[in-house]
Amino acid sequence: MEYVIEVENLSKSFGSKEVLQGISMKIGRGESYVVIGGSGSGKSVLVKCILGLIEPTSGVIKINGQDVAKLSQKELFKTRLKCGVLYQGGALFDSLNVIENVSFGLIYGLQVPQKEAYKIALEKLEAVDLDETVAKLYPSELSGGMSKRVALARAIATDPDIIFFDEPTTGLDPITSGIINDLIVRCTKEMGISAVSITHDINSLKHISDRVGLLFKGKIIWEGTNKELLATDNPYVVQFINGNAEGPFTTQG
C-alpha cells in the first residue's frame, strides 16, 4: 500500500512535559484515519507536528515519502499545499469575504491569477453545496455550519492529497454534523483524498473512519479498523465509545 503519511517514533516535549511519546503510524492513500482520545491526550499536538506547525523533539515524519525535516522552506511550502486543513473554529480570515477566503491558497500559495482562482473557488463552494450567493459574505455573517463548509471548500481548493480535520463537528447541531460528515466521506471516497481527523464525536467517528487510533497520555494504545473498534473489548476503547465515567481512563488519568 502506498502511504501518504508515515510517522516514526515521534516525540514532543514542552519543557519537562512529554506530550507525545514515540508515536508511529501510517496512513494510506485515500484512507480516512481518525485519532481519538481524551482532552490533553496530545491529538492536536500530533496533527500540528505532522503539519510542521510545531517542531517535534524527535522522530521522523514523511509526507508523500518525503522527510519533512529535510525539506527546504520552499519545498515545505509546496508540500503544505498538498495538505488541506479544516480547523476547529474554521479559522476563516475575518477581513476577507467567502470567495477571497476560498481562493486564498490558490492566489497566494499557487500564484493562480485572481479570475481563474475565483472560478475554481466557486466550483469548490458548489462541491460543499454552497452557491455564489454566499461569495460576497464575510465570515461574521455565516452560521456555524456554513463557516465549516466554507472552511472545507478552502481546504480542498488547492486539490490536496491529504486533509486534516480538527474536530469537524464540534459545536454543530446533529443534522449539520451529519451533513459535514457526509462531505468528509465525499472528500475521501469520491475525490480520493486521504483524511486525518481528530474527533470526540462518536457518531462522526463511526461515519467517517476507515481506521482509528486511540491516543492516551501521548501514546497510541489501540489501533484498528472501524469494524474492529465496535467489536473490541479493549477496556480503554469500550470506556471511550460508551462514555463511561468509570474505567481505565479515569483510574489512570
Partner: protein, 263 residues
C-alpha cells in the same frame, strides 16, 4: 548573618532573573524583526497588503494626528506668551513654536497618537488571528505570515509616520499662527517672517528621522505582541495593553536618546 546572605542571594537571584528575562525579550524581538524584514524583501511581494496598511496608517490617522497638533500649537503659543511677555520677548514666540513642533512635539505627539490608534489595533487584530488559528491557517496555505502580516505594517509604519510628523509640524505651526495673529493680535506678516527665519532644514529632518524610528518601533511592538499573544480574549486584551504601554515608553526613551544623538 546567614539569613542576611540568604536574603541577599534571593534578591540577586530576582535581579538576575529579571535581567535574563529582559535580554531574552530583546533577543526574541530582534529575531522577530529580522525574520519579518527578510521575509518582506524576498519575492513574492504582497503589494495589496502594503497598500492597505499605507491607507490605514497614512490616511486614517490624519484627523487624530492633525487635531492633536492644532491644539498643541495653539496652547503652546498661549503658554509662551504668558511667560515671554514678562521679558518683552514676544517676538521669539514663532521661533520657539517652530523649533518645538519640528524637533520635539511633532514626532513625539504623532507617534504617541499612532501607538494608541494603530499599535493597539495591530496587536488586537494579529492577536485574534493567532488565538483563532488564522495564523496557522496562513502557514498551512503556504503563506509566510511574517511576509503577509508583519512586514507590510513595519514597512508602512517606518515610511509613513515621518509623513504624519510633517503634517503634524505644519498643522501645529498653523495652530500657533491662528492664536498668535487672531487672539494675541500679532502682526501676521511679522509672525510668518519670524517663523520662516527660524526654520532650519536639520530641525525638520531630525524630527522626520525620529518619526521613522518611532514608526518602526510602534509597528514592530504592535505585531510582536499580537503574534505571541495567547490565552483567548483575555490574552489578546493583555497583549494590546502591553503593546501600547511598551510602545509609549519606548517612544519617550528613544526620544531622549535620539535628541542627544541628533542634537
Amino acid at each position: 548573618m546567614g539569613s542576611h546572605f540568604a536574603e541577599l542571594s534571593v534578591f540577586l537571584d530576582r535581579i538576575g532573573r529579571l535581567f535574563i528575562g529582559f535580554l531574552a525579550s530583546i533577543g526574541s524581538l530582534t529575531l522577530f524583526s529580522i525574520k519579518a524584514i527578510w521575509a518582506g524583501i524576498t519575492p513574492p511581494y504582497y503589494w495589496k497588503q502594503i497598500l492597505q496598511q499605507a491607507v490605514q496608517i497614512g490616511y486614517f490617522s490624519l484627523p487624530v494626528v492633525g487635531m492633536t497638533a492644532l491644539f498643541t500649537g495653539m496652547a503652546m503659543t498661549l503658554q509662551c506668551y504668558a511667560g515671554f511677555s514678562e521679558f518683552t520677548a514676544e517676538n521669539a514666540i514663532p521661533s520657539v513654536v517652530m523649533i518645538a513642533m519640528t524637533r520635539e512635539l511633532g514626532p513625539v505627539l504623532a507617534a504617541l497618537m499612532v501607538a494608541g490608534r494603530l499599535g493597539a489595533s495591530m496587536t488586537a487584530e494579529i492577536g485574534t488571528m493567532k488565538v483563532t488559528e488564522q495564523i496557522d491557517a496562513l502557514t498551512t496555505l503556504s503563506v509566510n505570515s511574517y511576509k503577509y502580516l508583519v512586514f507590510p505594517r513595519i514597512l508602512t509604519g517606518t515610511f509613513l509616520v515621518p509623513f504624519l510628523v510633517l503634517i503634524d509640524d505644519i498643522i501645529g505651526i498653523l495652530g500657533g499662527y491662528l492664536v498668535g495673529v487672531y487672539y494675541l493680535n500679532f502682526n501676521a506678516a511679522n509672525y510668518i517672517r519670524n517663523t520662516l527665519e527660524s526654520m532650519v532644514t536639520w530641525d525638520i529632518v531630525s524630527g522626520l528621522i525620529k518619526g521613522a524610528v518611532f514608526g518602526f518601533v510602534i509597528c514592530l511592538m504592535g505585531c510582536y505582541q499580537g503574534y505571541f499573544s495567547k490565552g483567548g480574549a483575555e490574552g489578546v486584551g493583555r497583549a494590546t495593553t502591553n503593546s501600547v504601554v511598551t510602545s509609549s515608553i519606548m517612544i519617550l526613551l528613544l526620544d531622549g536618546i535620539l535628541t542627544f544623538a541628533l542634537f
